[in-house]
Symmetry: C2
Subunit: 363 residues, 2 copies
Amino acid sequence: MTRPGIRTAGNLRGLPPALWDSRLLRACRGEAVDRPPVWLMRQAGRYMAHYRGLRADAGGFLGLCKDPARAAEVTVFARQWLGVDAAIIFSDILVVLEALGLPLEFVAGDGPRLPRPLRSAADVAALRDPAQAAADLAYVYEALRLTVRDLPADTPCIGFCGAPFTLAAYAIEGGGSRSFGRAKAFMYAEPAAWHALMTRLADTLVPYLTAQVVSGASCLQVFDSWVGNLTRADFAEFVQPHLAHLVRRLPAGVPVILFGTGTGHLLDLIAACGADVVGLDHTVDLDQGWTAVGGPGRCAVQGNLDPCLLLAPRHRLEAAAGDLLRQAAGRPGHIVNLGHGVLKETDPEAARALVEAVRAWRP
Amino acid sequence: MTRPGIRTAGNLRGLPPALWDSRLLRACRGEAVDRPPVWLMRQAGRYMAHYRGLRADAGGFLGLCKDPARAAEVTVFARQWLGVDAAIIFSDILVVLEALGLPLEFVAGDGPRLPRPLRSAADVAALRDPAQAAADLAYVYEALRLTVRDLPADTPCIGFCGAPFTLAAYAIEGGGSRSFGRAKAFMYAEPAAWHALMTRLADTLVPYLTAQVVSGASCLQVFDSWVGNLTRADFAEFVQPHLAHLVRRLPAGVPVILFGTGTGHLLDLIAACGADVVGLDHTVDLDQGWTAVGGPGRCAVQGNLDPCLLLAPRHRLEAAAGDLLRQAAGRPGHIVNLGHGVLKETDPEAARALVEAVRAWRP
């Protein structure tokens, strides 16, 4: 079973013309646009006072994820305040692990912690049922419905999830890591349990993302933030089959963006998973990356400004944006974004200035 | 002024034939060897009980760095116990920052901290004199003299330093970082102060590495562990001139290994700094990386096994080592190593098994 590519599937979901012809969705399909669409990963986040206020009202980060009205409010506010071409639903990739039965904590300043990480095949087998886990994430679907209701008719909302590898790595490490020693040791020592875990995750992500589409997401991004740490051989053996199987089962007619960082050595393999759009970070040259994923005729690309440029003097930020726009000009299928999420120390006005520079640009 | 390449300089330092014709130095010069040399970054480190004992005796990590007799002992012991083809002097890249006037702490489990990081041009200007800083690092030179005295006559000892970028990033961030937001913001906002800082660092590293050579180091490795986070444009503007200027001023006749991680997109630029050997991490395909640095005729390569393979079942580790050795076979100028340092959770027997697999291998 192969999911039809977004370039050939047509408007299967019957989107309103204004949405179907939005810059983001046209770019995902490799169609010409007046200027490239722009949005920013983590555009609703800690760098915004509005967000911090609502997070406090919701009792913290995880509380905000589970509060559909406030999650929708931060999503819609950030979209509107920045003037970006798309919203992305405010949530976190790790809520899926919590729904699968792993307790999850966010300690202020310290990032996420999973105090009962997976350490054995038995731990994997004890994870909850995928369909039940996806059903328990109803607060995400409700947040999406509220968001889509409040967005302009021509503005897509992107749904998202963490990719199987990145979620598995979090689940085994119990939090962030630099080397992924525990996750890789598990993968090498217990390949059957590893593949069972990846299967369980993908089986959860399919109904999870499908429900997001049903709730109004018109584009999907799969965050494989950590996959760039793998060798090509390990990616091919331990990750690619699961990622490809996940993408194939997602709803037809909805573009899928596969995102990772430090993936310069994996781009052809990632594109082969069936991505409509591949995310490139700032360590990948746009031309080389686009060639690696098959070129503009086959795959769109998203990126790839260094998030640290938002900490730079305005003239340098604008020069870098101009360089990127000129480099992509004339080739449809480019979505302007950072190579990774907005950093918390970012001045919101810098993010807005970047968006404004893209909006003002004409080829 | 251009430093003569190691392939043409000849035995300018008058090394004894056994050392000059050691596997490591031959491989650095791109000469044929019976089998590739092997050593491991951080081969003397926390994963070894012997090391932990001496570190405790020395009153901690920094105490061990400053205790020439014990530093030499961990260096020589690890070389001998593992059976590797080279020693690397036990030290830390950050002692240079301390010598330049920045207080340095190692908090157990937490990594290095610089409690008075650089935040302004005035802070840079207030750094100590390079020649004085290099002179104050006499404990490193003494450790080298003791090490070389105790090594077999055919076994090189590698001297090392942190590269200007990685040291500057530590000095500005005040410790480790994921995004290098502060370092890059400084670089973008205060380019003159940035270049002054890079100059001060390189001006310190030249006498520092030269004194290491005088004290017995017969090969030098420059650790630019973090440089892979830069874009090509930023590397070219903010780093490359300083790295090239550093390498040019190092003693002729001593091979220089330039090491970084995640540098797949920078390899041609790194090689152009005058490296005799370029380090490749596990995210770089050996063939592609070797081509990027100019091929075996121009540059040797070092690497590139994933350090996490030492946490894998033995059969998988040996298979990966075999794949690497076969991939490099027939092309002189390959030094077997990990792509990054040995992880602290590594079983020492796994490290020894890897070395044994390389030693047993014949093309």
